[in-house]
C-alpha cells in the first residue's frame, strides 16, 4: 500500500465482508480471480480494500445478477429476497425513494408495478420448483436509473409449457409471454403480467432487457416493438434490466 494514501480510504477484509454481506472466503476467491481486487501493505500481508472499489463493485448490479444466474456466484445478501414478503418490503422502500427522486417521481407507480410484476412472477411460477436457490436478486440504482431483477428458477419456457406444450424454444416462449393473453385458469391463475409490462413500456420512456435461457428480448420506451434474439450465454431462470 502506498503510504501517501490516507488510511481512511481503506478497510480490512472483515470490514469489506460485513459491508458486502459475503464471507471472507468469497472475498479471497474474488481477489484471486480478479473480480474484486484487494491491496496489501507488504508481500504476503493482510488484504485491504479501497472503499472506492467496494462502491464501484456494488454499483454494477447487472454484473452481480448475471454472474449469479450464469454460474451461481455469490452476491451481496442485501440484494437477495428469499421470499416475496422480503421483496415486497424492499420494493416498497424503492417506491418511497422514487417518489422523492426527480428522475423517477413522475413514473414511480409504473416503475414499481413493472418491477413488481416481474419479481412476483418469479415467485408465483417457481414455487415448489426452485432448482437450487429460492428467491430473487433485486437491486436498483436511482442515479443510474436502473432496476435489476434475476432468478434461478425454471425459466419462461418451462413455465409456459404447462399451458402451451407445443412451445420448443426460449425465443418462442418469450414472444408468447409478452404478446398472447393466456386466459386465467384456476387454480393456476395467471395475471398476464408481462403483457402489462409491454403495455406500460409502449407508452412510457422505460426500456427493458429480459433474458431467459438463450433468448433475449429488448424493448425501447414509447414503442410496443419487441426485439427477440438468440444469445450465446444460456442462463438459468431470468435476468432483467429495467432502465428509464
Amino acid at each position: 500500500m502506498n503510504d501517501n494514501i490516507e488510511k481512511d480510504d481503506f478497510i480490512t477484509i472483515s470490514e469489506a465482508a460485513e459491508l458486502l454481506a459475503v464471507s471472507i472466503m468469497t472475498l479471497r476467491r474474488w481477489d484471486e480471480s480478479g473480480r474484486l481486487s484487494s491491496v496489501r501493505r507488504k508481500e504476503g500481508g493482510h488484504r485491504y480494500y479501497r472503499k472506492k472499489d467496494i462502491e464501484v463493485f456494488l454499483e454494477d448490479l447487472f454484473s452481480l445478477a448475471k454472474d449469479w444466474v450464469l454460474s451461481n456466484a455469490e452476491f451481496p445478501k442485501g440484494f437477495y429476497c428469499q421470499t416475496s414478503a422480503i421483496f415486497l418490503a424492499r420494493i416498497t422502500k424503492m417506491e418511497t425513494l422514487m417518489m422523492q427522486n426527480k428522475d423517477a417521481k413522475d413514473m414511480f407507480s409504473l416503475l414499481t408495478s413493472v418491477a413488481g410484476e416481474i419479481g412476483n412472477n418469479s415467485y408465483d411460477h417457481n414455487i415448489g420448483k426452485w432448482i437450487d436457490t429460492p428467491g430473487i436478486f433485486f437491486g436498483y440504482d436511482l442515479n443510474k436509473k436502473q432496476i435489476v431483477l434475476a432468478d434461478r428458477g425454471v425459466g419462461i419456457l418451462e413455465t409456459l409449457r404447462g399451458v402451451k406444450p407445443e412451445l420448443k424454444t426460449h425465443k418462442e416462449a418469450l414472444e408468447v409471454a409478452f404478446t398472447e393473453i393466456i386466459s386465467s385458469r384456476r387454480p393456476e391463475a395467471r395475471g398476464n403480467g408481462l403483457k402489462y409490462v409491454r403495455n406500460v413500456i409502449s407508452k412510457n420512456p422505460i426500456n427493458l432487457a429480459f433474458q431467459t435461457g438463450d433468448a433475449k428480448l429488448t424493448m425501447q420506451g414509447n414503442s410496443a416493438n419487441l426485439n427477440i434474439e438468440n444469445v450465446k450465454e444460456d442462463l438459468r431462470g431470468c435476468l432483467v434490466l429495467i432502465s428509464y
Binding site: 416475496s84 415486497l88 420494493i91 416498497t92 417506491e95 417518489m99 413514473m107 414511480f108 407507480s109 409504473l110 414499481t112 408495478s113 413488481g116 410484476e117 412476483n120 415467485y123 408465483d124 393473453i181 386466459s183 386465467s184 391463475a189 395475471g191 398476464n192 403480467g193 403483457k195 402489462y196 403495455n199 406500460v200
Partner: protein, 97 residues
C-alpha cells in the same frame, strides 16, 4: 357500500397479498344488500398491479357485475392495470371519478 383499498395497504402488487385482501374483504361483503352498489375506492393507493388486481377485482366483477363501481382511479399504475384486466377478461369496469 364502499371498500377503501388503502386499508389493505398502499403498495398493492402481489398475487398473494391480493388473495389475502380478497379473503379479508369477505367479512365486509356479507353486508352488501341485494341491488346495492359496491364501490371500490383507490384513493391513497400508490402502486397497483395486475397480479393484485386479478385476485381482488376479477372475482368482484364476476360476482357484482354492473353493481361494481371503481373510483379515484387516476393513479397511472391503476389506470394501466384496469386496462390490461379488461382486455384479459373481455369485460369493462364501471369507473367514476
Amino acid at each position: 357500500m364502499t371498500i377503501e383499498l388503502r386499508k389493505f395497504g398502499t403498495t398493492l402488487i402481489s398475487r398473494q397479498t391480493g388473495k389475502e385482501a380478497f379473503l379479508a374483504a369477505q367479512s365486509l361483503l356479507k353486508d352488501v344488500k341485494e341491488g346495492e352498489t359496491l364501490e371500490v375506492d383507490f384513493d391513497g393507493v400508490l402502486t397497483f398491479s395486475p397480479s393484485w388486481g386479478d385476485e381482488f377485482l376479477t372475482p368482484l366483477l364476476n360476482t357484482y357485475g354492473d353493481r361494481l363501481v371503481l373510483k379515484n382511479t387516476s393513479n397511472l399504475s391503476v389506470k394501466a392495470t384496469l386496462e390490461i384486466l379488461q382486455t384479459t377478461l373481455g369485460k369493462q369496469f364501471k369507473v367514476i371519478d
